[in-house]
């Protein structure tokens, strides 16, 4: 690996991290606000009426899902928004005229986007401590799931950012795809409680595997096979990396 490429990677990563930290009221505070409301309404007010799930209080049960929800949306939106904005302002040309290879562009955006996602997840977890005391069974799995999920959705956000032609295109996927899939991905319930049809339908939702794999790290139980969850995450990461590399090589939406 060429040293100058590592410097370019660090430069892009640093620039992106400085950007989202500089505008922290827009990037880091909203997830804390939103997830606090979830803890309060679903966990405290409604959750107190719901029985324990596999011996875990409902409030504790939703913690991994809400953390994961924050990781997913923030890592995705960070990369999609930032990359499209650089296209819109044409500052992406600073990167395109440089000798930085495409993997550096992907690496810089994805690592910084993933970091924002993880940071938001960490903050949401911090908030959850005010409401409950989640237990930790497999710290290694927790770290692996949060990192892989953040990377996968940052990669997805980059695909969105590359292909987007207008600002609306950046918000379509989070609104109409990610949010429904996350809500239906077992954040607030165990799919074991669902009728067969819905349970089977839920199993085609990739976010279900991420949420449950992450939850397994906390409480040691899951609605799906944890190894399959890891496999799905790795598969998505590889596929989305290939898609990004192809799009950048062809210059789709970037070169005429």
């Amino acid at each position: 690996m060429h040293k100058s490429n590592l410097i370019a990677l660090y430069t892009l990563f640093r620039k992106e991290v400085v950007r989202f930290i500089r505008i922290w009221p827009q990037t880091l505070v909203p997830p804390i606000m939103t997830q606090s409301l979830y803890f309060l309404i679903f966990g405290k007010f409604i959750g107190s009426q719901i029985n324990d799930i596999n011996g875990v209080s409902y409030m504790a049960f939703i913690v991994p899902g809400l953390v994961m929800m924050s990781v997913i949306s923030n890592s995705y939106v960070n990369v999609a928004g930032s990359f499209f904005s650089s296209k819109f302002q044409r500052s992406v040309e600073e990167l395109l005229v440089s000798p930085a290879p495409n993997w550096v562009i992907i690496g810089g955006y994805v690592l910084s986007g993933a970091l924002r996602g993880i940071l938001c997840g960490f903050l949401v977890f911090g908030v959850s401590v005010f409401f409950t005391r989640p237990t930790i069974s497999h710290i290694g799995l927790i770290v692996m799931f949060i990192v892989l999920t953040a990377i996968v959705f940052a990669l997805g956000g980059l695909v969105n950012g590359i292909l987007a032609r207008k600002f609306d295109d950046v918000s379509i996927v989070p609104t109409f795809v990610l949010t429904p899939l996350t809500y239906l991905g077992g954040v607030f319930y165990s799919i074991a409680l669902l009728p067969d049809v819905w349970r089977n339908l839920s199993k085609i939702n990739p976010i279900l595997y991420m949420v449950n794999g992450f939850r397994y790290g906390f409480y040691g139980f899951s609605d799906v096979n944890v190894y399959m969850s890891v496999g799905i995450l790795v598969l998505f990461a590889v596929l989305l990396t290939i898609v990004n590399l192809t799009l950048l090589k062809k210059g789709k939406g970037l070169r005429s």
Partner: protein
């Protein structure tokens, strides 16, 4: 002198079917200050886009300092600094950050980039503005920022796409001086401009492009010599009989001014002598308009 740029049969057809380049052949020598001239839509920016990797070519080959654009894409880009026609930096980023970040993309370590950026900001009189967001700069300052950003990567070839567009006269002259100095220090410069006076002031060689084809490629001096007729504006104390100026194409503009078309075979001193014979005193004698511009129009006829 080796070639900085060798372009052979370069073609570009855009997705909408527009044939922007129809087989361009062009050589720019290392160390040259070369102008690429053409009307809007002639293909100048497309050539620059291909050289810098922002436009995919449809055919032909491009070499920069012997490196092939297709085979050594990143090595080629490493040697080029570009100042585009339109502003293309993050308007919310600070001035120095923009320069330092660009250096980082080219693999230059941050301490080195900071030192280089400070030097360039001082040279281009932007140092006082280094910590302000770029959006607060004036148009001329933004142009200079883009020059600093292009130079921080230590390019061997600097490409300037209409760098003085919208820049006031005084600043334009300061920029010319700076660019001339860079060229004297060995930097090869490829310039496109609509200020044709700029070409006469700065460039040694020039190519003219029309409808995606090169229509002239020579030294600026030789190109200027193509002009058959030079038009002058003459101010005198009082315009007298023009008919007496036999063999000269002179037209009165007002009571004290006339224009004169002087062919290459006609002598200025002889004309001045004729004027004196007629009892007119010359107060001012100057070329009308820009010679390159007239040449440009001549070639594009």
């Amino acid at each position: 002198m080796s070639d900085a740029i060798t372009i052979t049969d370069l073609k570009k057809t855009y997705d909408d079917g527009t044939e922007a380049l129809k087989g361009i052949d062009l050589q720019v020598k290392a160390g040259d200050f070369f102008a690429l001239l053409g009307a809007n839509g002639a293909g100048k920016t497309t050539i620059i886009g291909i050289l810098t990797g922002l436009v995919n070519k449809s055919g032909g080959s491009v070499q920069v300092f012997g490196k092939d654009l297709d085979k050594q894409f990143n090595e080629v880009k490493r040697m080029i600094g570009v100042v585009p026609q339109e502003m293309n930096f993050n308007q919310f980023e600070k001035v120095q950050d923009i320069i330092v970040t660009q250096a980082g993309y080219f693999g230059i370590r941050r301490p080195q980039a900071l030192a280089d950026s400070e030097r360039l900001l001082k040279q281009l009189e932007l140092y006082e503005k280094r910590n302000v967001p770029s959006r607060s700069l004036s148009g001329g300052m933004k142009r200079r920022l883009m020059i600093a950003r292009a130079l921080v990567t230590h390019p061997k070839l600097l490409i300037l796409d209409e760098p003085t567009a919208g820049v006031d006269v005084e600043l334009r002259h300061t920029m010319w001086e700076y660019l001339r100095e860079q060229n004297q220090n060995g930097l090869t410069i490829l310039l496109t401009t609509h200020y044709l006076e700029e070409v006469e002031q700065l460039c040694r060689n020039a190519a003219m492009i029309r409808d995606g084809k090169i229509v002239a490629n020579d030294s600026v001096k030789n190109l200027v010599n193509i002009l058959e007729v030079e038009t002058y504006v003459v101010n005198v104390d009082q315009v007298k009989s023009m008919e007496a100026l036999n063999g000269y194409n002179a037209k009165a503009v007002d009571g004290t001014t006339f224009t004169l078309d002087l062919r290459k075979d006609q002598n200025v001193s002889q004309f001045v002598a004729e004027i004196c014979k007629l009892g007119m005193t010359i107060h001012d004698f100057r070329p009308q308009g820009n010679r390159m511009e007239r040449l440009f129009l001549e070639l594009l006829k």
